[in-house]
């Protein structure tokens, strides 16, 4: 059961990371024309349409990771990491926990600033919040992957 949940968590994380990177690049660096290179087409997405999907995926991720998997990590993996004196992995996982929570709290504001019609006066704060959430998602993905390689559930 834990392995299935962990796989689901990892797959959803990959999807969430893709969505947030699309949105972040699109919002910071919108292409001048729809056609062009692969990279230009990667950015030429309707960035606003990603918002609700990102929020839903983030909340599901927080539930799966925080409620269903975290207690097992706390009992089985973290204790071993501490016994092995692997302080840095424990520390970066703690950061993952805190960054996720702050990003979870940011979602109402993120949704509010991405409401359509998009206001031009809030363009900067949209970029800012999208970047924070994208950074958090990427950090969580990398740290989760690293910790799982080090000491899986």
């Amino acid at each position: 059961m834990i392995t299935t949940l962990l796989l689901f968590h990892g797959l959803l994380a990959a999807g969430l990371m893709g969505a947030t990177i699309h949105q972040t690049l699109g919002v910071w660096w919108p292409p001048r024309s729809a056609s062009g290179s692969f990279f230009a087409r990667f950015r030429a997405v309707n960035v606003a349409s990603y918002t609700n999907a990102i929020i839903i995926m983030f909340v599901i991720q927080a539930f799966v990771g925080g409620v269903l998997l975290y207690p097992t990590y706390r009992v089985s993996s973290r204790v071993v990491l501490e016994q092995l004196r692997l302080a840095a992995p424990v520390g970066i996982f703690d950061l993952k926990e805190h960054f996720s929570t702050i990003a979870l709290g940011l979602l109402p504001a993120y949704w509010y600033y991405w409401r359509r019609p998009l206001s031009t006066e809030h363009a900067n704060i949209r970029r800012f919040l999208t970047t924070i959430i994208a950074f958090t998602v990427c950090w969580n993905f990398l740290v989760g992957h690293f910790i799982n390689n080090l000491r899986g559930l």
């Binding site: 925080g66 975290y70 207690p71 097992t72 706390r74 009992v75 973290r78 204790v79 302080a87 840095a88 424990v90 520390g91 970066i92 703690d94 950061l95 926990e97 805190h98 960054f99 929570t101 702050i102 709290g105 940011l106 979602l107 109402p108 504001a109 993120y110 949704w111 509010y112 600033y113 006066e121 809030h122 900067n124 704060i125 800012f128 919040l129 924070i132």
Partner: protein, 181 residues
């Protein structure tokens, strides 16, 4: 009184970040979960039969506090915007100055040839930062205090994230030292 419901969302997010930091720092958990025995207890409790998890309790405390802050914000009239912005700006400048004054005091304490024990006391940094913030507030440009800046929604949570990196530095410093050696 005009209710501005829209204001609740950004205020919730900012309050959530700040309250979460306070909840973790002072361990203000509303519940404690003991994963080894699958037991839930009210408020922060010491570990028993395995580790104790406070994270759920911190989130619960924070969510309640941030919801109250968001609800209160809907009742604050627009004419108070200037004061709210000034208060946030002052609090932010104070927090930054507190860190600067604290480290300056520790630096002076280390370098001094006589014992200056008072420099290590948190009240010294708090008072010094307050004085510096009051002086700095005199020089706040008018355009900075005219209306509530939406950028706080990003700046404050980002600052809280940096504070967490600082608070957890004890986990990394030994490893960084080993890598550099």
């Amino acid at each position: 009184m005009i209710m501005t419901l829209d204001r609740a969302f950004p205020v919730f997010s900012v309050a959530f970040a700040v309250l979460y930091l306070l909840a973790t720092y002072f361990n203000l958990a509303l519940i404690t979960y003991h994963p080894a025995i699958k037991e839930l207890q009210f408020l922060a409790q010491p570990p028993k039969a395995g580790p104790a998890m406070y994270w759920y309790g911190w989130i619960l405390t924070t969510a309640i506090g941030a919801s109250v802050a968001g609800a209160v914000a809907t009742f604050v009239p627009d004419r108070c915007d200037r004061w709210v912005q000034w208060a946030i700006l002052f609090a932010y400048v104070y927090a930054v100055l507190f860190v600067i004054v604290h480290y300056l005091a520790l630096l002076i304490y280390d370098q001094a040839t006589i014992e200056l024990e008072f420099l290590k006391h948190p009240a010294t940094s708090a008072t010094g930062a307050l004085l510096a913030a009051v002086i700095a507030s005199i020089f706040f440009p008018i355009q900075w205090t005219q209306q509530v800046w939406s950028g706080w929604t990003g700046v404050i949570p980002l600052s809280v994230m940096l504070v967490f990196v600082y608070l957890l530095r004890g986990w990394f410093i030994p490893s960084v030292g080993l890598i550099l050696r």
